[in-house]
Symmetry: C2
Subunit: 492 residues, 2 copies
């Protein structure tokens, strides 16, 4: 994949539909992005989990376009798409058919049942061992075609039925999905929640050895169809490092909270530690459609003897700091509030998490773009969007606080905002500067600062960010000294 | 207990505190009520479930009064109190001590663990058999003092830890609570959620034979301390009838939805069937601190082959009708909306459920008061209160839509409202009319109507309610013809 920024966006919330995205990427945003991750655009985009519960993963939701529209985008930009490995909608044809017909259904075997794993029952220790990013047990009762109640694995919501990816029916289903994406012009596949795909009695059922094997095999199937694979896993930072060493590409979910921590405390120590140990086969993010990952930097939730990158006190300070800077709105959307079950994340627009401070926000983006990895920018972050309390109130879904809908008017208004113009300029600079394919060095720096260097072909780029003072100084490859984001006005 | 209306109210939301309740009962409401059910007034009234998750069930929350205040009320009115059998708060001293000290804790044994019931593990069928009025499994993970994860039974919220009432420690705890209530002047005890108290592997763990035995024994313990016992159980109507035949006193939870159904459809057929078969050792209600029970009149959720009093279509019409008449507000507070897990109830003020129609509302109350049983009136219903959208929005708890806080101003304003003045008059008439200790007859009536007769000591009271036309005609024991609620202005 190209070492150029990727946009991440919903098919419908940014520029109306797929054609709208294409027009933005080749029009107002030309040169800023090398690719785009379009969040689930399948039939249907508005289920129980905003498209992550597909009814038909092989079809494009007709309300936002067609496979031809996806192929059109892929002519000029890499297209990344979600491959939802772990589950389908409880309203999917496959699940409904199986519930109605049981063993006579062509989908018999495709779904994970409690009995399939715990055929003789599960003990306290077996149930407690199962890892889940939400409170409660990952099972939901359904009536089968005999009227008997059966428990299905539902790792996420009760409307998302886990697939038995090891079954012939599950494998055939995933093959159909891979074919559809490859035929549609997708070249990057994000394996959604793949860490939960394999269940084994007595284990955490999360990133166990068999899961790594499955990911390796499945990645081969994707590569055979010309697609690279990115693995999405939130979790304890040591696990993240372990996962990264065994797969092609991961997200750096530690970065968003650690950048905030550095700004909130004026202390870059933890951030600098992370820069030294973080995996570099990664996509860097500050924001995504999900929340800001606390789990990724905190004490191991499955073994509290394992300390996190941040102490418990400092995690509390992080969560409080986001709440304060966002005027309390993040608290409305996080944890037990607002029916949000993702207790390991804080839901908040990144621009709000930094108190809408343009200088700090652009410094955070600069830091993201300077670190090894391919930078990805969420559409709300691109537009310096703020928390959407109205959408949160309307849906009661915590994460909707950072899933704003733009219309042509609010979109062009946002693009004219000075902080957005400078961010677009910064993206164009990042996309067109080739030194990021070179060698990276994390330099020593005084407390409160971060110093980074890139070298390639005899050229050097040096940057020092004074997080405590919210200033920076960068010497570009041509010797230009940049210490003011006004510099990037020229690029916008 | 006296055959006179009971007020049901929170300690803090009606008249500020316990003294405020005493002043209302002997002042503006003198003669209207024979007793009062004060919702949980223990330490503390504002936990995770509005007092139904006590931290200390033997102490009065100091913010609303003392045991002396309870005793004062009991001088003039019967006092009914909740005895929360099934669980305590996860913040209670007992649970915290046990988590911290395990076998060394004096409370070791007091709580229901998964292992305690499913020592060798639970199968699909064993887990599916367990009845629960919410989606999801009734277990929550905690870390014990060894750092091991253990599953506790949490039938209601994860902050309410189920008590093993069969253990010595559980029994001792309940004895301490019984003593505290009896010493405090309580003469009526409502056994909260007692149907879930006994767990047995392979059963529904809900109103099993052992539960009946427990209730009988426990009722004896209460009676030995001078207290009568009321059992609170929502469920399929046949189960309700069965339960009623085996305990002293139950609620008629079928009445509230069936009265609405009759007004919405103009058809009294189902209501009249219920009048013929309903248990009469009951407390009649139209509203309580919980929602309007749909489960009590619908198809058996544990066996959909068992039809309810209302067909599925008519249940849908009931829920829709409440939503329409309440301007859509009930929908905000019910089901998956607003984090409300009580999917078997509709959350709505009864006055709003009848579209704030004074005539229909007073007719519904008249019908309630004319049926065998002791009528109980919820403080919001007494004051013809409407849905509290602000409180719902502030807490996200669906049931809070009908748990309004009154202050002295809003309380006196409500008492001056004509419909409230007539309702108070109707209550005084009901409290002072002795014929309701006599013989009840459900008479034939034309479609759309209900006709009822009471006879005692050679006196007769006849009433015919034309639900379809929203008119009524009653001939009182002294021959007075009453066909207008203005008649009760004289009593207010």
């Amino acid at each position: 994949m190209r070492n150029a920024p990727l946009l991440i966006t919903y098919a419908d919330r940014f520029a109306g539909d797929l054609r709208g995205i294409a027009q933005m990427l080749t029009g107002p945003l030309a040169g800023a992005f090398g690719g785009v991750h379009i969040l689930p655009f399948y039939e249907r985009i508005d289920g129980a989990d905003a498209g992550f519960d597909p009814e038909d993963h092989t079809r494009v939701d007709a309300r936002i376009g067609t496979w031809d529209d996806v192929a059109d985008i892929s002519q000029t930009h890499e297209v990344m798409a979600d491959l939802i490995i772990n589950h389908v909608s409880s309203d999917s044809e496959a699940f409904r058919d199986w519930l109605a017909n049981g063993a006579a259904s062509p989908y018999d075997g495709m779904f994970c049942t409690y009995e399939g794993v715990f055929d003789e029952g599960a003990t306290n220790d077996e149930l407690c061992a199962v890892y889940r990013p939400r409170p409660g047990m990952p099972f939901t009762k359904f009536f089968d075609h005999h009227g008997r109640q059966i428990l299905l694995w539902t790792t996420f919501t009760s409307a998302q039925i886990d697939i038995d990816v090891e079954s012939a029916q599950g494998a055939a289903y995933l093959d159909r999905v891979v074919d559809a994406l490859a035929n549609g012009g997708v070249t990057l596949v994000r394996l959604d929640a793949v860490g939960y795909a394999i269940k084994r009695r007595g284990t955490s059922c999360f990133m166990i050895p068999e899961t790594y094997e499955f990911i390796a095999d499945f990645a081969d199937r994707c590569r055979a169809r010309g697609m690279e694979v990115l693995v999405e896993i939130h979790g304890y930072y040591q696990s993240q490092i372990e996962v990264a060493s065994r797969v092609d590409l991961v997200y750096d979910f530690g970065l968003p909270p650690l950048v905030l921590d550095a700004f909130f405390t004026g202390d870059t120590t933890v951030l600098r530690t992370w820069i030294d140990i973080r995996p570099t086969n990664c996509m860097t993010v500050l924001d995504t459609h999900d929340g800001i990952g606390v789990i990724d930097v905190a004490t191991d939730v499955t073994d509290r003897a394992q300390p996190g990158l941040l102490s418990d006190e400092r995690v509390a300070g992080l969560v409080d700091g986001i709440s304060q800077r966002s005027g309390g709105t993040s608290g409305l959307a996080t944890g037990a509030a607002a029916a949000n079950l993702d207790i390991y994340q804080v839901n908040c627009a990144y621009y709000d998490a930094l108190g809408r401070d343009d200088q700090q926000y652009l410094m955070a983006r600069l830091l993201q773009f300077l670190l090894p990895g391919v930078p990805q920018v969420y559409y709300v972050g691109l537009l310096a969007g703020t928390n959407d309390i109205d959408l949160l109130a309307a849906t009661g879904v915590g994460r909707d606080i950072n899933r704003r809908y733009y219309d042509p008017h609010s979109l062009s208004e946002a693009l004219a905002h000075p902080v957005v113009r400078r961010l677009v300029g910064l993206l164009r600079w990042r996309a067109s500067t080739t030194i990021f394919d070179g060698t990276f060095t994390h330099l020593d720096a005084p407390p409160g600062r971060v110093a980074l260097r890139w070298e390639a072909h005899g050229q050097v780029l040096d940057a020092e960010l004074d997080v405590a003072a919210a200033t920076f100084r960068m010497i570009d490859v041509d010797g230009t000294v940049i210490d003011d984001f006004a510099h990037f006005d020229d690029w916008s």
